[in-house]
Symmetry: C2
Subunit: 140 residues, 2 copies
């Protein structure tokens, strides 16, 4: 899913089921895209089977075939897969600092971390050269 497609999906995930007309209307409040552009994106998402359609009189109704959280988790996991093992932690710490998180989410994270801390290794090696050993000069 491309960034533009993702923007369209957010609307559809939120609405659950929506006509193209409404997608266009909502989308145009966010981005200066022509009607055509949005129709193209809907078409591509449908072809990729990320959207399913149901005919309804004159227009179609679009609904996601994949839950938003599933898509999110996949995208986030993919991104992190390409980062240096050793520095992922620092990346998350920096991210946490910037995000607005609810009490509930923070508590769930804390629980998760408490659990992981028990058998966490004291260091994680850099795997950037895939050499099998710690590739990084700076070990921390």
């Amino acid at each position: 899913m491309t960034p533009s497609e993702w923007e369209v999906m957010r609307i559809i995930w939120t609405k659950r089921s929506i006509s193209s007309l409404d997608v266009i209307e909502v989308m145009q409040r966010k981005r200066d895209w022509s009607e055509s552009t949005i129709k193209t994106l809907l078409g591509r998402l449908t072809k990729k089977n990320i959207l399913a359609t149901t005919k309804e009189g004159r227009h179609f109704n679009y609904r996601p075939t994949v839950p938003e959280t599933t898509a999110m988790d996949k995208t986030v996991a993919e991104l992190f897969q390409h980062l240096c093992d050793m520095k992922k932690g620092a990346g998350i710490i920096n991210l946490l600092a910037k995000l607005n998180l609810s009490k509930g989410d923070i508590e769930r994270m804390q629980a998760q971390l408490d659990k992981k801390l028990k058998d966490a290794p004291s260091t994680i090696n850099c795997n950037c050269l895939s050499s099998g050993k710690n590739d990084c000069y700076i070990t921390d």
Copy 2:
């Protein structure tokens, strides 16, 4: 920076300064890319000013102009910027579950979370339609 460029950068970030010959050698241990392909990537990274070069006899030496952590933070931040505000927390929780983290990183995260918990809101609204109010039907 594209995914392929990122792979090349990881090598150079780790080595700090490296000849194209060595980049090619290391890279070819990871991916089945032709020498040409890797040279193209080095060229593009140089043109984008992500790499700086110094002539050294027959070959050039490449070194990053941007620290890896800076680039990482930017990429991670960009990704999260496009996700639903309400669901970012859940995304991180899922991510944490999957990652291998060092004790030190976990402790730093815990510290960060403790600090944030104090004045964390009890809920974060979905902003997927940018309507100004909570867009999501499911409020959690």
